[in-house]
């Protein structure tokens, strides 16, 4: 946060507020999608980047949140109670998914969460009585806020942006609280954290639950944004894409998901000028980025902005030269 300074944040905030007035509806749709996916990626960054718990199930939580909102609003519920219920449901399910993490770690945990994602996909597809199965759910209405309809693309974007800012601020506050430090301790050395009296069991479960909640809230916005959801939208592909956003942006860095989501949403669109080759070029760019900058784009900026070591003073250089054997 310190490295990027309030000025950079102010510029980014001005861009986020001003851009929709310069963009056509397609551009507004893309930045709305960016805001929604950033929320989900912040959740995964919390679980993976800060607490070090590998999760391949974030796409499933987006799906649970999206289906909760789509089904409840279709049944006549107002948007916001459905939205909050979607997040709460993901908190409970995320907490339960955290139990395997108490027993297995790393790639074993990755496979547990991957299996959970597949399980959610199968439930969404096969339990037709509840989810309408392969046909999906079309036409989820956009909410009204204090009598103001968000049907307009720009208004809906500002709703997504407001929720993103609110959740980001809450996450930022939490990361600077003892909870945030406990998450990092859990990632860096769980045995030492335990020996210092940290309840690692509780914090592991909490890391999953909070990360999943953000996934569910993102899903709650995804349904009225796209206005069509189907099980295939929340398969492993989405989980991999969210993982890509966290890693490419900078895992364990607060602004990583913001930049990662920007790249994952916009880069394929930029590459479309290459027509049939655009997905190949996109994949190659991501590979190059990961090879040369494993700490993600934010890591690259941090490296570039790090003050360079001042050259050795003449006296120190002379002492060093004298000490060197001839």
């Amino acid at each position: 946060m310190k490295r990027f300074g309030p000025l950079s944040v102010a510029v980014a905030a001005a861009a986020a507020i001003g851009l929709p007035f310069l963009l056509k509806p397609f551009g507004v749709y893309l930045i709305s999608m960016w805001a929604v996916l950033t929320i989900a990626a912040i959740g995964l960054n919390l679980t993976l980047g800060y607490a070090g718990q590998v999760s391949m199930a974030q796409g499933a939580f987006v799906g649970i949140g999206a289906y909760t909102v789509a089904l409840l609003t279709a049944a006549g519920w107002p948007f916001f109670p459905a939205f909050i219920l979607g997040g709460a449901l993901c908190f409970v399910i995320g907490w339960l998914l955290g139990y395997p993490a108490l027993r297995v770690q790393h790639h074993y945990l990755a496979f547990v969460t991957l299996a959970f994602n597949t399980l959610v996909f199968l439930v969404l597809r096969n339990e037709e009585w509840l989810t309408r199965g392969s046909y999906g759910i079309a036409g989820t209405d956009r909410p009204s806020l204090f009598g103001l309809s968000t049907d307009n693309a720009r208004v809906f974007y500002f709703l997504c942006l407001a929720i993103l800012i609110l959740l980001s601020a809450a996450t930022w506050w939490m990361l600077r609280s003892p909870w945030g430090r406990a998450f990092v301790a859990l990632r860096e050395n769980p045995i030492r954290a335990l020996s210092l009296g940290l309840d690692t069991r509780r914090y592991t479960l909490m890391a999953f639950a909070l990360g999943s909640t953000l996934g569910g809230l993102a899903g709650g916005l995804y349904a009225p944004l796209v206005q069509f959801i189907e099980p295939g939208s929340f398969s492993l592909n989405l989980s991999f894409n969210l993982l890509l956003m966290v890693i490419v942006g900078g895992s364990g860095r607060f602004f990583g998901p913001f930049v990662g989501a920007l790249i994952a949403v916009l880069l394929p669109e930029w590459m479309r000028v290459a027509e049939g080759y655009y997905l190949i070029i996109y994949a190659m760019l991501v590979m190059v980025l990961m090879v040369f900058c494993p700490s993600g784009v934010i890591g690259l900026f941090e490296k570039a902005m790090k003050p360079k070591k001042p050259p050795a003073a003449p006296a120190a250089a002379a002492i060093k030269a004298e000490a060197t054997p001839q």
Binding site: Y135, V226, F228
Partner: protein
């Protein structure tokens, strides 16, 4: 600071600023959003190639109402969410009509937007639900499942004389729609569905499914899968010695499936909505032109793309202007014959919902080729 500013300007430029107007001098903007990557790439590529061939022919002959057709092709990645985004992109430029998508799930999300924008959408999707949602701007280029399944059901009842049938289907919106319509038609005809086997998109191993089929001992097997999966299924069915007739609807008898399955496709029978092997000279001439241009045999999606463009040309020339609303009004209930518009290849009629009616065929695979054995009349001419 400078870096941030540069990033912001790059982002803004990349997603298109509001001021960039679309040049439309003596051209008419008719974009296509198609499945060029992902699970639908075979279908989307065929549709695109047929469509572009028709556009080149029309442009060479002077265009529509003196306007050349301008058709950028955007990839949906076979994903409904991406389709929605790409449709929004083209709607920003005020198109006259939109071609595609082919995947039914993508059509279901885009048709709500085209209806709102009053832009006709010429689609390749076959799910029954597409034209049952009062989307008055969507027009099919092939039969919906609610029309093709009664034909295949009649064939199983009258020609195969089956008393029981097993159905193998792909569990997505396309396969589920087909399966639901098919089982309803079977029930109406008193035919017992002895096995109802769902399979996955991209499934590689069908051995367990074929074992189940053998256990069901049905008089016929109806196979409703995508191209690659159809070929894999046929190979496994041959390996395990399935004796019951294998019946399909268009895809199973397509040249792509025959090429991939090799000898395992031999003897497959079924109903074919559109085929380049149709005993119609115009269709065969089209197939030869397509093969010469692209060096592969066109499937039914290529015909959809080609005839879809000529459908737009005919209706537009009838209304004499580029007006989406007038187009939709004129196109509902229109009949186009090859005498009036040779590019339509076969006489076709669109009803008030945008569903198409035309002749179709019964076929079987003989010596690695699809052979048409019977032509079925248009439903409206029975």
């Amino acid at each position: 600071m400078l870096r941030t500013g540069f990033l912001v300007s790059l982002v803004a430029a990349s997603i298109g600023l509001a001021g960039t107007a679309h040049a439309q001098q003596k051209t008419v903007y008719m974009p296509a959003i198609l499945e060029l990557s992902g699970a639908g790439a075979v279908s989307g590529t065929n549709f695109r190639d047929g469509m572009l061939m028709a556009i080149d022919e029309i442009n060479k002959a002077g265009g529509i109402l003196g306007h050349k057709i301008e058709t950028p092709v955007l990839d949906t990645q076979s994903d409904a969410g991406t389709s929605r985004a790409q449709l929004q992109k083209v709607l920003d430029n005020n198109p006259y009509v939109v071609f595609g998508p082919v995947f039914s799930g993508s059509v279901l999300v885009t048709q709500l937007m085209t209806m709102k924008a009053e832009i006709p959408e010429i689609v390749g999707g076959e799910a029954a639900a597409i034209t049952q949602k009062n989307a008055s701007y969507v027009f099919r280029t092939s039969f919906g499942q609610q029309f093709s399944m009664p034909k295949i059901a009649n064939y199983i009842h009258d020609s195969i004389k089956a008393k029981s049938v097993a159905v193998v289907w792909v569990n997505n919106d396309f396969g589920k729609g087909g399966r639901d319509n098919f089982t309803k038609e079977m029930k109406d005809r008193g035919i017992n569905v002895a096995a109802d086997i769902s399979t996955e998109v991209g499934q590689a191993d069908f051995s367990a499914d074929v074992v189940k089929l053998k256990g069901a001992n049905a008089d016929a097997v109806f196979v409703y899968l995508n191209e690659e999966e159809s070929a894999r299924f046929l190979k496994e069915a041959k390996k395990q010695g399935i004796k019951a007739p294998l019946i399909g609807e268009t895809t199973l008898l397509g040249q792509k499936v025959i090429d991939l399955a090799g000898g395992a496709a031999e003897g497959v029978q079924g109903h074919v909505g559109l085929t380049v092997d149709a005993p119609i000279k115009a269709v065969q001439d089209f197939a030869a032109k397509f093969k010469a241009r692209y060096n592969y045999v066109c499937d039914h999606n290529g015909i959809k793309g080609y005839t879809g463009v000529y459908f737009v040309k005919y209706v537009t020339e009838k209304i004499g202007k580029f007006d989406g609303k007038a187009f939709a009004e004129k196109a509902h209930g229109i009949t186009i014959t090859p005498q009036e518009e040779p590019g339509i290849l076969m006489e076709a009629k669109w009803d008030k919902n945008g569903d198409i009616d035309r002749e179709s065929f019964l076929g079987e695979v003989v010596d690695g080729k699809q052979k048409i054995v019977k032509t079925l009349p248009m439903l409206s001419k029975k």
